[in-house]
Amino acid sequence: MEKWASNKAWFLVLPVFVIVAFSAILPLMTVVNYSVQDIFGPGQSVFVGTEFFKQVLADSRLHEALLRQFLFSALVLLIEIPLGVLIALAMPRKGVWVSACLVTLALPLLIPWNVIGTIWIIFTRPDIGLLGSTINHLGLAFDHTASPMDAWVTVMLMEVWHWTPLVVLLAYAGLRSIPEAYYQAAKIDGASSWAIFRYIQLPKMRGVLTIAVLLRFMDSFLIYAEPFVLTGGGPGNATTFLSIYLVKIALGQFDLGPAAAFSIIYFLIILLFSFIFYQALQNVGKGGRS
């Protein structure tokens, strides 16, 4: 009886298994397949083992792109998470302004990613862009197509503008779920607003902030469309992030083998760091006696 029941359960899980296989596992296996074989044409391939991996890992341009990518993701997390929490704290807790704030904040999230890049190209143009020409009129030379620094600033600004609202929405939801009685109890204890933040709001936001950090890390580490539209990876290689470089190898040079090896390394890096962040955020500030 029991065995029959568990077999039936497997049968019910099967459709999902098939979908996941076709959408995730099979493509991933194809990539693995590409990464260990040199393919010349249909039916013509040579097994090369880890050669592509060695080649990719020795590529100094990839090292640069990886470093750039880490710097970018680190900046994104360091700016967007605290900024998002600050904005969420400053938002009204009730009244008509709540929905006004939420809708305004959500607007950047509703715009297609390639359009975001176009918006910022125009916005930062030194001649007609609102931001670009304002800065240039202030006497500061600003051109994201010429100066690597300006390109970075523009990409960061665009990224912060685009994605901080997501952090705000998550943090705001976390704050709203704290019962009023917690604040009253803290007031009766004589707690300062810093103590209320540190010992009530922050711990109560742990769950949503974990999600925010993971989402922002993964997303920023995979960033492609916005810098591709805005700078195309330039000037020089200044904003060539990992995914842009990957596409250059795969489609620009049609080196599918090294690109596949690169993809697998890319995937493992994201997996590893997501795991580290998750573990760290689950345990931070717990159990320690102050």
């Binding site: 019962p179 009253q184 009766i188 004589g190 006696r289």
Partner: protein, 362 residues
């Protein structure tokens, strides 16, 4: 000395939350605020704590007007319905948190935290986090946090409501012992008459934002001044019957006739409303003077050794609470007995004219 509330009003928009509250709480007293949900109990506690400001009136603490003084500067402690503790701090640090602001020495804090923890049986849990404890232990932590401070005013807003029955009984007994050892004013709100009776002390019966009656708890229970008080302070709700007195005989409902004697004999003829607590009605004759009448069974709730029988007598709904198991079928007609001296007799305006008094069988 103590706490005095003078003419407190609280209105929010056009809603009246509290109306003309005048109360005095003496230092060292145990006070119960009894009222149904939305009667204004929590609003009143919040104003006493200073978390809310009254729309009108003054709060005097030990002779000083503290109406406008901020919560942070008042010497109070409060326990909530929900289990409120700092989620990321250990039980030890949670209990110590109200003391951290006070500038006491480390040793002094440690001593007081351990004493409070011992009182509430939390000694072995001091290193844990609130989320790792059961609901009862979390509320014990919240109570320990309130006690550790030695506040002049200890407010408890239905603290046992979210606990299961067993834990509630246990904590109720312990809390009484703890309160008796302190000289702060304790104000404890509840919706349950039984809980109020167990705590004793003084009671404030609150309904729709108004104080209905105050006094020592047993006295108010035995002499509820109005029908409304009798209703709030009886569980299950008190039974009402329209009644009339004529020639020394009390006529209840359509055809229950009880000769008046003792404390009731001085009542003048006229129309009345009679309240009978459900535990004063029986399903079997206890005394030869008991009056018998017939009523139809609507529902039998058997609660272990007790039965709550819901009846219909004419158009009137009655509840009988009796020891024993009586699985009567719905719709059967059964005999109900009422003792001739268990009546709360109110005039037509709902003011108490005569009551059974204490010392009645219950």
């Amino acid at each position: 000395m103590g706490l005095t509330l003078q003419n407190l009003d609280k209105t929010v928009g056009r809603q009246i939350h509290l109306k003309d509250i005048q109360l005095e709480f003496e230092t060292g007293s145990r006070n119960i605020i009894l009222g149904r949900t939305l009667s204004g109990k929590t609003s009143l506690l919040r104003i006493i704590a200073g978390l809310d400001h009254p729309s009108r009136g003054r709060i005097i603490m030990d002779g000083k007007d503290v109406t406008g003084v901020s919560v942070r500067k008042r010497n109070i402690a409060m326990v909530y319905q929900q289990f409120i503790n700092y989620p990321s701090l250990t039980i030890y640090d949670n209990i110590a948190s109200p003391l951290k602001m006070s500038g006491l020495s480390r040793n002094e804090i440690d001593g007081r935290v351990r004493a409070a923890a011992e009182m509430l049986h939390l000694e072995k849990l001091l290193g844990r986090l609130p989320a790792e404890l059961s609901g009862g232990q979390q509320q014990r932590t919240a109570i320990a946090r309130a006690l550790v401070k030695d506040a002049a005013l200890l407010l408890l807003d239905e603290p046992l409501v979210n606990l299961d029955y067993k834990l509630r009984e246990e904590l109720r007994v312990e809390l009484q012992e703890i309160f008796n050892k302190r000289d702060s004013i304790v104000i404890y709100t509840t919706t349950e008459p039984t809980e109020a009776l167990m705590f004793g002390g003084n009671i404030v019966v609150l309904d729709e934002g108004r104080v209905l009656q105050t006094g020592p708890t047993p006295q108010v229970y035995h002499h509820p001044a109005t029908l409304k008080v009798a209703e709030v302070f009886s569980d299950p709700p008190i039974n009402y019957l329209k009644a009339g007195i004529d020639k020394g005989v009390l006529q209840l409902g359509d055809n229950i006739r009880v000769p008046l004697n003792g404390r009731y004999s001085s009542l003048s003829p006229g129309k009345y409303v009679v309240g009978i607590r459900s535990n004063h009605l029986c399903l079997s004759r206890r005394h030869e003077k008991d009056t018998e009448f017939k009523a139809r069974v609507e529902l039998s709730e058997i609660n272990g050794s007790e039965t709550f029988t819901h009846l219909k007598y004419g158009e009137t709904a009655l509840v009988v609470q009796d020891e024993g198991v009586f699985p009567h079928k719905i719709g059967t007609e059964i005999s109900v007995y009422v003792s001739p001296d268990a009546f709360f007799i109110y005039d037509e305006a709902g003011v108490l004219k005569a009551s059974p008094g204490a010392g009645q069988r219950s």
